[in-house]
Structures are given as structure tokens and as C-alpha cells.
Amino acid sequence: MNSISIRKRIFIILFASMALVMSLMFALVYIVAGAVMEKTLSEYLISAVDANTDKIIFLEKDVAEIIKESDNDDLFVDYGSGVLQIDDDFLDMLSDVESALYTQYGKLLYGNNSLSRNMPLEAFDASRLYRQVISGKRYIVYDRKITGEKLDGLWIRGVVPLTKKQDQLEQITRSVAAFIPVLVIMVVLVSFLASSSILMPIRRMKEIAAAIVGADDLGKRIETGSNRDELYQLAVTFNEMLGRLEDSFNREKQFTSDASHELRTPVAVIRAQIEHIQAKEPAESEYIEAIETIGRQNKRMEKLINDMLGLSRIEQGEKRYPMSETDLSEIVRTTVDDMSRIRFRNIEVVSKVEKEVIIKGNRNLLERAVINLIDNAYKYGRENGRTVVSLRKEGGNAHLEVSDNGCGISEDALGKIFDRFYREEKSRSEVEGYGLGLSLVHEIVSLHGGAVKVTSQKGTGSRFEVEIPLLLR
């Protein structure tokens, strides 16, 4: 397990990348500055050497004698058949650039400085810069051949030490180094603040989530803020999840509360009945009445428990109820047949069933659904009325319709009719049942990938329509 917090990680990444960028920049500055300085030095060297080339004139010896007398500042060096007059502007030492005049065989003619003398002789190389290390020091060297009347074979060699560049770079490094502590502090500070500010909304989310856990209040929501960034998306998604959680939690709570209410009622009646009969010496008729009451309430409880178990089993889905090719036509036909036998409140059941409506389904569940729909029509249909059951193929679906001509359902109740334990108010005392029948139908149809809907008009009757996809062959 990696236990480094995200905040630390962000901090480390920021810090490392900033440090890397800064080192790279420093290296770049170092290299570029070095290159620039070297170029400047080179140019300086070239211009210094070039400036010296025209300071040398070849004179015949007699002419030289005459000039020597009138111009004492210049230097005169014997060269071949004549004399070289070296102007006193010839700068053998200009700043750090040292120039010296050589014959092509390497004999030093002028430039009386230590460097020129100590330089080991290298072949002259025309107009090219090269580096050389002399007694541990690095130099740039530039050779220039002198052209002119009788000047062939003369070379000027200029050198400039690289120590100058080195010194300057060291100075830059030192001044940068002086800034390093400040930079480090700044990098740390910026990394710290950045990691905090990035994590701020996440921290807030965490606090709200903790509040929800602490207060056990699923009604709370995370503030989404106005900035539609990734965290906004996260907060919205999180809130959606909370909403669904709250919904299902509330449904579950409602179910538990309703179920316990429904179960308590028969238990309460049985208890009261037993206590009442035990408190006195009852007549035989009272005994009989008591037993009947207990039997009735017991049956009611049994049915309720069965329905509740049925519902919870359906939730286990196909594991519990395997699906196979099923002839819905046959199921509807036989169920209508059975149900019409137990004629209730003298309601007639008529059916119109198309043959071979084949779906993938579970026979027991589908039977149960059809029974519950007809049972519902029996309970709420008009006395001496009629219930119509029809089944047909329609647009890739099996279309089952059960309609009655009873009291109808109020608009308010239509939306809740498939809710568990929902019963229309007036029916509570007049009709037996717990409001589980239709929610069973709903669950069964959903399990088969279908949908059930209801349309109704108060006073004229209700129509339940079930659609389940046909089996494709």
C-alpha cells in the first residue's frame, strides 16, 4: 500500500519538476553564456590580429636606414634581403590578446612576450580558430598569413586565454548560487500552495461526505460550485449517486415500515381476541367467533408473508426463477379458465387470446401476474360487471390487456398503484388485500424485460396493459 497522501505526491511532483526546470535553465544559461563569451573572445581575437596585419612594411635596407633615423618609434627587424618596419601600432598585447609575428618556419620575429615564446610551434593554419592547451591553460589560437610586397612567408599568430570566459562564468554561477536558497524557498512555497489549492475542493467534498456519514443524513448534497471543471463533474456525479441512494433507502424504509404495520395488525387482532376470550367464561358461540377471527387473521398474515417472500424472491431474479421458451397464450387461456370458475361478485371474465404468443419467461411467475391482474379486476370491478382479457402480438411485443368496468382509479392514485402496500383509501376497509398484488405484477413484468401501465377513468373502469418482448427465433 502506498500511503503517501495525494497532497504530498502533488507537492513532490511539483517540487521535482520545478527544480528540474530550474536546473535545466541554469545549465542552458551556462552553456549559452559560455558560447556567447567564446564567440565574443574569438571575434575580438580575430579583429586584434587582423588589425596588426597592415602594420608591417618591407623595406630595402638603405631605405630602412633613412626611415630609422626619422622615425624612432617603430621597430625594425631584419628579414631576408631587407628590413621589416613594424609600426608601433602593432599591438602585441591588446587586453588579453597576444599577437606575435613569425616566419613561416616558426621563427619568432616580433612579440616579445612569454606566451609567444613558450608556445610550442604548430604549423600555421590559415584563418582558422583552434584551441590549444599550454601549460594547463586553455587558449584560442588564430593564425593569419600576411600578404603584401615581399612579405610572403610571414605569419601573425594571436592567442587569447579562455580563463577570461571561465572567470565570467564562475561569477555568473556564484551570483546564481546566491539566489538558490531564495529560489528553493519559493519553489517549496509555490508547490505547497498549489497542492493545497488543487486539493481544496476535494477536501471540502471529503468533509461533506464525512458529515453525511456522521449525521447519517443522506439528504445532504455537495456544493458543486460555479466552475464547471472535473471536480464539478465529480460533485454532480456524487450527488446523483447520493440521490439514488437516498431514494432506494427511503423506499426500503417505507417498505419495512409498511410491512411491519401490515403484519402487526393481524397479530394485534389475534392477541386481543385471545385475551378477550381468556378473561371470561365464554359461551360456545363466542368461542366459535373467536376461532373464526383467529383463523381469518392467520390466513391474512399467511398471504401477506407469502406475497412478501414472493417479492423478495423475484428480486433474486433468474437465479431463482429460470427462464425458458414459454407459450404465454396457453398460460393466459388456462388462467382465465381457472379464474372464471371462482367467479367473484358475479363478474364475468371474457378473453380474446391470439395463438402462439411465445416469450422467454418463467411459467409460475407469469401465471401469478395474470392471476393478480384478474384478481385486481375482481376486487375493483363492478358487481355483475365484466372483465376483458386479451392477448396479441404487437410490434415485437406480447401485448396483454386486462380491463374492467368498475369504479376506476383516481388520478392521484394512478402514479402509486404499483407501489408496495399502496391501496386506494376507500378500499382499505372494503376490499381485502395489502397492496402487494400489483407491485408483484410490476416486478414480474420487469423481470421479463417488459413494462406495465395503467389507464383509468373514474367511474368507468381501468385498463392494465402489459408488454413483454416476443422471443426471436
Binding site: S257, S260, H261, R264, V267, A268, A272, H276, R296, S429
Partner: protein, 223 residues
């Protein structure tokens, strides 16, 4: 004692009504809230026992009506909802007591006695008038050490009068309270029963407890 009882579960309604009647209470039983509200319009009750979940109008609706009309009537809520919030909601709405189903009939009867005591501002089950004692829990009536045997109606009449000790009760008020709707009014049934009570309580006694206030009605008094 006249009790208003509303419960939509038929078996429950029958059993509790029967148990209350066996305790000499006069019971009007209703199967929904609206019936209970209608009953409130036409009679005066000592206690109301209301199921909370009822069709048409629920226990809260009836309670609201009661508090609008007759503030002091003690109300007991009966319900299968046992969550604490439900109890708090019921009591806050003005119910005097709250009993969760399934309940014991004995407990229900005891709580009804508590509520009638509260209504008449007495602290135990024994009502006294001079040396006459009436125990509302055992229904035993004594004068001195002598136990007096009373019929159901005689008992109801005496209990009502003792709860209203030193108060003059008109004939019609007594009639309303002790006899239910099935009784055809306009007879001298009250006078007849007062006569029976006098026979059993005051005959051969120096101190007569039941007095007739001419033109007004009857009262029991120890003054």
C-alpha cells in the same frame, strides 16, 4: 362513561368494542374517521380511542376536530406504527396517550381508566362520597363496609354522578351519557334508575347522598 372508538379493522373493532362494553362503558364504535367526526357532533364523550391509519379521515383529522370542539376530551391513539417519531408526532398533535399494536386489552382498559381519572381530576381508581366508595377498576361499590350490588346501568349512572360529585346533572344530560342512540328518549327512564339507586344506597341511612334539585335534575353530594 361514554367512549368514542374508531378502528377500520373489523375484527379488532368488534373485539375491543365488546371488551369495553363488558366494562360497563357505553361505546360508539366507528369504522372510519368521518364516522367518528359525525359521532362527535351528536354526543358528549369521556374518552376517545382512535386508530391512526383509517380511511376517509385518519386519527389526526379526528383529533383536530376534537381539539377544535371540545378541548378537554382525553384521546388515546392506537396504532401499528411504533417508531419513536410517530409517537412523538401523535403526542405533540395533542393525543393524551399512545398505545402500539399489538397491545394487551388489560393495558388498554387501564389506560382508559387513567384518562377518565385525568378528565375528572382524580388520582386513583376509587371515587368517594361520604362513606360511599366506588372502585372503577374492580367495579365494586361499598357503603361503609357493606358491599352494594348494582346492575350495569345502575353502576354507570352512579359512576357518572360520582365523577360529577356536587354537580347538578339534568335528566337529558344523564340520558345522553348513559343511554345510547338505540334508546328512545322522552321517557322517565332516568327517574326510574335514580329510584333504584336510592333504594340500594340511601335506604335506611341517616345521611341521604342522592338529592333531587327540583326543575334542574339530580346530584350526589357529601355536603
Amino acid at each position: 362513561m361514554r367512549i368514542l372508538y374508531a378502528e377500520d379493522e373489523k375484527d379488532m373493532n368488534r373485539i375491543v368494542t365488546q371488551a369495553l362494553r363488558e366494562q360497563q362503558y357505553l361505546v360508539d364504535s366507528c369504522f372510519n374517521g368521518q364516522e367518528a367526526i359525525d359521532c362527535l357532533e351528536s354526543a358528549e364523550y369521556d374518552v376517545a380511542i382512535l386508530d391512526v391509519m383509517m380511511p376517509v379521515a385518519d386519527g389526526y383529522d379526528v383529533l383536530k376536530k376534537i381539539r377544535q370542539k371540545n378541548g378537554a376530551l382525553p384521546v388515546l391513539f392506537l396504532t401499528a406504527k411504533d417508531a419513536v417519531e410517530e409517537k412523538v408526532r401523535g403526542l405533540d398533535a395533542g393525543a393524551n396517550d399512545y398505545l402500539v399494536k399489538p397491545f394487551s386489552l388489560d393495558e388498554l382498559l387501564a389506560r382508559v381508566r387513567v384518562l377518565t381519572r385525568q378528565k375528572h381530576a382524580v388520582s386513583d381508581n376509587i371515587l368517594r362520597c361520604d362513606d360511599l366508595e366506588l372502585d372503577t377498576s374492580t367495579r365494586v361499590v361499598k357503603r361503609g363496609n357493606q358491599v352494594i350490588d348494582l346492575t350495569s346501568k345502575e353502576y354507570q349512572l352512579l359512576e357518572y354522578m360520582m365523577y360529577n360529585k356536587n354537580v347538578v346533572l339534568s335528566r337529558s344530560r344523564i340520558e345522553d351519557h348513559i343511554w345510547d342512540y338505540n334508546y328512545v328518549g322522552g321517557t322517565n327512564v332516568v327517574d326510574v334508575y335514580i329510584g333504584y339507586l336510592r333504594q340500594k344506597i340511601d335506604k335506611d341511612r341517616d345521611r341521604k347522598l342522592i338529592r333531587t334539585k327540583r326543575g334542574m335534575g339530580y346530584m350526589i353530594t357529601d355536603e
